[in-house]
C-alpha cells in the first residue's frame, strides 16, 4: 500500500508564501523504503557561518529544502534496530542483516558529515545482547573489527573522530586493541564525532560513573556529600564529547522504547520512532526525522512567550 506523506508546514510556509509554486519534496512510502520525488534542480544552501550560497544539482551535498540549517541538531543518537527482522523477511541469515545494517550506517555517517551534525552516537551492541546465541555474538564482534579496519581510511578522509564507549573488558582482545588504535588515530580529527556504543547500557554507564566517584572519595578528592548531578555527568562515558546530550534520538523498526541506551543523557531529547527496519533506513527517513525535530515545539520546562 502506498501512503503519501507531505510536510504540510513546508507547503504552508514555502509554497503559498509566494506566487510561483515550486515542487516541495514529497515522500512516497512503498513498503519499508521511502523515495523522494525530484526536488528543484537548484537549491539555496545556507552555510554554517550564515552565508547563503547557490549550489548545483548535486542533491547529495545539499541540505534538503525542507531543513533549516540553523535548526539542525548538534547530536543525533540512533538505536539501529531491525537487522535480524530484515534478514528474516528475505530468508537470509542474520549476518546478512547486520552487513546491510553497516551499509545503512556508513550512508548515515556520510549525511551527518555533509549536513554539519557534530556528534552521531550509535547503539551497536548492548550489555543485554551478550545473551544472544554465541555464534551471532562472535559474528557481530568480527563484523565490528572488520568494519573498523575497512572504514578507517574513509573516515580519516572525512575527518571523523571515533570514540567507542561501553564495557570494553568483555570485548575480544583484538577488538579492544583495535578500539584503542582507532581512537588514537582519529583523536585529532575535527569533523563529525562518531561515538559507537559497544557492550554499553545506560545503567552500566551510571554505575561505572559511581565507581569512578567512589575511587575519588577514597582518595579524598571529593566527599560523598558533594556528589551532585554535575559530578556524575563528568564521569559518564559520554563525557568524551562536547555535546553529551543528544538533541534527537532515532529508533528504527517501529519499537518505541529506549532499551537501556543513554538513560541519563536523554532527558530532553526528542524521540523519533521510525517504522523502517535499520537496513532500510535511508536519506528520506533521516530527513523525515529531522523535519519532525525542527517542527516540534520544544521547551525545556520554560513557558511560551
Amino acid at each position: 500500500m502506498v501512503s503519501l506523506q507531505l510536510p504540510l508546514s513546508t507547503i504552508n510556509n514555502k509554497i503559498f508564501s509566494h506566487f510561483n509554486p515550486k515542487p516541495a519534496s514529497c515522500l512516497c512510502r512503498v513498503g519499508n523504503r521511502s523515495r523522494a520525488f525530484p526536488c528543484n534542480k537548484y537549491s539555496i544552501f545556507r552555510g554554517g557561518e550564515g552565508t547563503i550560497t547557490t549550489a548545483t544539482a548535486e542533491e547529495e551535498r545539499l541540505l534538503p529544502d525542507e531543513l533549516r540549517p540553523e535548526l539542525m541538531p548538534k547530536h543525533v543518537a540512533v538505536i539501529m534496530d531491525g537487522n535480524g527482522r530484515w534478514a528474516r523477511q528475505r530468508n537470509l541469515p542474520t549476518s546478512f542483516g547486520h552487513r546491510a545494517g553497516v551499509r545503512a550506517l556508513t550512508d548515515l555517517i556520510d549525511l551527518c558529515c555533509k549536513w554539519g551534525i557534530r556528534v552521531l552516537t550509535v547503539f551497536a551492541f548492548s550489555t543485554e545482547n551478550w545473551l544472544r546465541p554465541k555464534l551471532e555474538v562472535d559474528i557481530l564482534m568480527s563484523l565490528f573489527e572488520m568494519v573498523l579496519k575497512e572504514e578507517l581510511k574513509i573516515l580519516m578522509r572525512q575527518d571523523v573522530r571515533i570514540s567507542v564507549i561501553g564495557d570494553s573488558k568483555k570485548l575480544p582482545k583484538s577488538l579492544q586493541k583495535l578500539k584503542t588504535e582507532v581512537e588514537d588515530t582519529t583523536k585529532n580529527n575535527s569533523g563529525l564525532q562518531l561515538i559507537i556504543a559497544i557492550s554499553f547500557s545506560g545503567q552500566y554507564d551510571i554505575v561505572q560513573a559511581c565507581k569512578s566517584i567512589v575511587e575519588k572519595t577514597k582518595d579524598g578528592v571529593i566527599q560523598p556529600n558533594d556528589i551532585t548531578e554535575a559530578v556524575i555527568e563528568q564521569e559518564l562515558e559520554t563525557n568524551c564529547t562536547k555535546f553529551p546530550h543528544p538533541d534527537l534520538l532515532i529508533r528504527t523498526s517501529g519499537e518505541q522504547r529506549i532499551s537501556n541506551f543513554l538513560l541519563w543523557q536523554l532527558a530532553y531529547t526528542e524521540l523519533a520512532f521510525v517504522k523502517s527496519l535499520w537496513p532500510d533506513f535511508g536519506k528520506a527517513d533521516f530527513v523525515d526525522a529531522l523535519c519532525e525535530f525542527q517542527q516540534r515545539k520544544r521547551r525545556y520546562g520554560g513557558r511560551d512567550s
Binding site: 543485554e128 545473551l131 545506560g202 567512589v214 577514597k218 559530578v231 519499537e255 518505541q256 522504547r257
Partner: protein, 282 residues
C-alpha cells in the same frame, strides 16, 4: 513616346516595389508580433497549468490528511462508545505500572489530570506514576487523591496483595528531583556505605552493581517499579527528565497535549502496548 512614359512607369514600378516592400515589412512586423503574442500566451498557459497542477496536488494531499484525521476521530468515537469489540476488554496483565508525563504548565489543570486518572482506574490500571518536571502534580496530590476517591499513594497501598487483585489504584507522584538528583543522592549513599566499610577495616574493592543502585534509590525514597508504558502529554516528544533509572524497557508513546486528550486515543495506545513483544535485547 514610351520612353517618355518609362520614367513614369519605372517610378510607378519603383513606387509599387516600395509599397510592396513596405507592405511586406508590415506583414513581417505583424507576423513577429503575432508570434510574440502567441509565445506569451503559450508561456502563460503553461504557467497556469503548472499552478493548477500544483494546487490540485495540494488539494489531494490535504484531502488525504483530512480523511486520515476523520478516520482517527471516528475510530476514537467507536472505541469510546464501546462498539469496537477488540477495545472493550483489555488484557492488562503486562501493564503493572503505567507512567504519565505531563507538561508542567498543563499539569495545573488538575481536573483534566483527574479525568485521565479516572479513565485509567475504570479500565483497571492498578499502578500509575504521575510525573511533571516542576512538581506541580506533587503539590496537587491531596486534591487529586481526594477527587479520585479510590486511589492510594504507595506508602499506604497494600503491597502484599497481587497487583491485579488490588482494589485501589496506587498513585505515585514524582518530579525532576526524583530523577537525576535522586541518582546523585543514591550514589552518595552508596559511597558513604562503602567508606564506612573501608574505615571499619573491610578492605574491599568498590563493587557497585545495578541491583545495588536500585536498592540505594529505594533506600533514599526514589525507588519504584519500572513503568511498562509511559504516556507523554505535552508538546515535546521527550520524557522531560522522568527518573531515567526506571526507563530501561518502558514503551513510550506521545499523546499530544493534555487539553486535547481523548479516551479513545488512550485506549488505543494501551491496547497497542498489550500486543508488543519484547526480547529485552537477547
Amino acid at each position: 513616346m514610351l520612353p517618355v512614359h518609362i520614367p513614369h512607369v519605372r517610378l510607378a514600378h519603383l513606387n509599387n516595389g516600395c509599397l510592396h516592400l513596405q507592405v511586406n515589412l508590415r506583414f513581417m512586423d505583424l507576423g513577429d508580433e503575432i508570434q510574440r503574442v502567441l509565445r506569451s500566451v503559450g508561456h502563460n498557459l503553461v504557467k497556469l497549468l503548472r499552478h493548477l497542477l500544483w494546487h490540485l496536488l495540494h488539494l489531494a494531499v490535504s484531502t488525504w490528511y483530512f480523511g486520515l484525521d476523520l478516520a482517527h476521530l471516528l475510530q476514537h468515537y467507536l472505541i469510546s462508545s464501546g462498539l469496537l469489540r477488540n477495545y472493550k476488554v483489555l488484557n492488562l496483565s503486562n501493564l503493572r505500572c503505567l507512567a504519565i508525563v505531563v507538561d508542567s504548565e498543563e499539569a495545573q489543570h488538575t481536573s483534566r489530570v483527574v479525568e485521565l486518572l479516572s479513565w485509567l482506574s475504570a479500565i483497571g490500571v492498578k499502578h500509575v506514576c504521575l510525573y511533571d518536571m516542576e512538581g506541580v502534580l506533587k503539590e496537587s496530590k491531596e486534591i487529586i487523591l481526594k477527587k479520585l476517591g479510590d486511589a492510594r499513594p504507595p506508602e499506604v497501598a497494600d503491597e502484599r496483595s497481587l497487583f491485579l487483585e488490588r482494589k485501589h489504584m496506587v498513585l505515585e507522584f514524582v518530579s525532576l528531583s526524583d530523577g537525576k538528583e535522586g541518582v546523585a543522592k543514591a550514589a552518595s549513599f552508596l559511597c558513604s556505605n562503602y567508606l564506612k566499610g573501608a574505615s571499619s577495616g573491610e578492605d574491599q574493592e568498590p563493587v557497585f552493581t545495578e541491583p545495588e543502585m536500585t536498592s540505594a534509590l529505594r533506600a533514599i525514597g526514589c525507588g519504584g517499579p519500572d513503568p511498562d508504558l509511559l504516556l507523554v502529554y505535552g508538546s515535546a516528544r521527550c520524557h522531560l527528565g522522568f527518573p531515567a533509572w526506571r526507563l530501561r524497557y518502558t514503551e513510550i508513546v506521545h499523546m499530544g497535549s493534555l487539553k486535547s486528550m481523548k479516551y479513545g486515543a488512550m485506549i488505543k495506545s494501551i491496547r497497542k502496548f498489550t500486543m508488543v513483544h519484547q526480547n529485552y535485547g537477547s
